[in-house]
């Protein structure tokens, strides 16, 4: 009767809430220098890093608030293939990969409910 080989644990499965590629993994930190130079290792604890992080938080918060401000409002989207459409913005998913919209005006009619793929969007405008 053979003994089965012991296993420390099972392989970790996907995280249901994100697409992965942990930005805090050793590989990511080593291979993906951030676009702002202050984050490079040389100035890890400097004033510049703190300012950069503050700027990042501000920008991120402003972006999230802009999404909130868009809710329920008509938004004009410019997309690839010279597509210009208008729709009432509903919500975004957590990775900002899809926008849920209503009454999407298209050349072939009005789509009551739709999902717009964010990678297909170039710009969008709305009035506050």
């Amino acid at each position: 009767m053979k003994t089965p080989v012991s296993v420390l644990r099972l392989p970790r499965g996907p995280d249901p809430n994100s697409r992965g590629f942990d930005p805090n993994s050793a590989r990511f930190l080593a291979l993906c220098p951030t676009t702002v130079s202050a984050s490079s290792a040389a100035d890890a604890h400097g004033v510049a890093l703190r300012d950069e992080q503050r700027a990042r938080s501000l920008l991120r918060e402003r972006f999230l608030r802009s999404l909130l401000a868009m809710c329920g409002r008509p938004v004009r989207f410019s997309m690839y293939e010279k597509v210009q459409v208008e729709a009432k913005f509903g919500a975004s998913d957590i990775d900002v990969l899809n926008f849920q919209v209503s009454d999407l005006q298209t050349p072939i009619g009005v789509q009551k409910e739709a999902l717009l793929r964010c990678p297909d969007i170039i710009t969008y405008n709305f009035e506050i």
Binding site: T3, V5, L31
Partner: protein, 346 residues
């Protein structure tokens, strides 16, 4: 002490896994990418099977997936008529390469600057990744859908297998066919081993080994079932194969003897590949899972732990495995030795 193989199951895909590929060995270990009909290829740590990320963007089944040697780029081939290139560290999509039909196969050159694609429109395409807007070079000739296309001979030649029951060797500069192999049935899989220039081809119940430069037949081995994929160990002492009967078969390459067969998958095995260090092989199946299998069953490696008789895996002792091949002078043959250092804890 006889040990029974414990495969590690990697779940996450929701449809059949149709292709998988390993990267080379990098300073962060090696990686595995899986192509799935659910359209969401996944990147995993090669030695543990731990999920790292999912490449999101394809709008159809992904039929082929590959990584460059350094695991910094990934490429995928899909039923949405595109091949995509991805940053394998951030998971971001870098390029979308439009095609005229379902794309089945993608392969990087060694310098990762060019991508070879092949699919249902029967044309091989070479994309210059530094000039993505430029039209790809096209090589026509196959009379049916291309299933697999690989760079070989230091990226100077191309090997392609198609539904037209041929495998063709092409010269990259002249874009002409150098040699054609004809079969009675379409080839189900193809693997190219650069070190030693060996080509592993499966068709019907046969696993065939060819010289990749001359396309001369080296040997064939027949399996008990229709084989979908096979892989030769980097040291060329074993090869593994899987197919219709859900099992993984392990053979001795020199003697062609079937050494072991393993049950585990709940559906036909579509793809199987050895890791770059040869310590494990991964299989992808119709059942939507990937499984990792040990080459040397019982050895401590990755998530597998070697347990001595009379010892439970949870004793408070430290067991270290020092990786590598140590030459042991037994009749001049090189044997793998698992070196274990015990720290007694009272």
């Amino acid at each position: 002490m006889a040990m029974r193989q414990t495969p590690l199951t990697c779940s996450g895909h929701t449809r059949p896994v149709v292709d998988l590929a390993f990267s080379g060995i990098t300073p962060y270990g090696y990686f595995l990418i899986s192509a799935c009909k659910d359209g969401k290829p996944m990147l995993r740590q090669g030695d543990t099977g731990d999920w790292i990320g999912t490449f999101l963007g394809h709008k159809g089944a992904v039929w082929g997936a590959t990584l460059n040697k350094e695991a910094t780029k990934a490429a995928t081939a899909a039923a949405d008529f595109t091949a995509k290139v991805w940053d394998a560290v951030t998971g971001d999509e870098t390029l979308t390469l439009a095609h005229k039909h379902i794309v089945k196969s993608v392969h990087f050159t060694q310098d990762s600057n060019h991508l070879l694609t092949g699919g249902n429109d029967k044309v091989l395409r070479i994309f210059d990744l530094s000039k993505p807007e430029a039209d790809p070079q096209e090589i026509a000739g196959h009379t049916s859908a291309i299933k697999k296309a690989l760079w070989c001979n230091n990226d100077t030649q191309i090997l392609s297998a198609a539904e037209d029951k041929t495998v063709r060797l092409w010269d990259r500069s002249s874009m002409e066919t150098v040699k054609t192999l004809a079969f009675d049935v379409a080839v189900s899989s193809m693997e190219y081993i650069a070190d030693g220039e060996i080509l592993v081809i499966t068709y019907g119940k046969t696993i065939a080994f060819y010289d990749a430069l001359s396309l001369d037949l080296i040997k064939t081995v027949d399996a008990p079932t229709s084989i979908h994929s096979a892989s030769l160990h980097p040291e060329k002492d074993f090869f593994v194969a899987g197919g219709d009967d859900f099992k993984l078969y392990k053979y001795d390459y020199s003697t062609k003897e079937e050494l072991e067969s393993y049950k585990g998958h709940f559906g036909p095995v579509h793809c199987v590949r050895f890791s770059p260090d040869g310590e494990l092989y991964a299989s992808g199946s119709e059942d939507g899972t990937l499984r990792l299998w040990q080459t040397a069953v019982g050895k401590t490696y990755g998530l597998w732990k070697c347990v001595l008789p009379g010892e439970s895996p949870h004793t408070s002792r430290f067991v270290w495995y020092i990786p590598g091949n140590f030459t042991v002078g037994v009749d001049g043959k090189q044997c793998d030795v698992c070196v274990r250092v015990f720290l007694g804890v009272t």
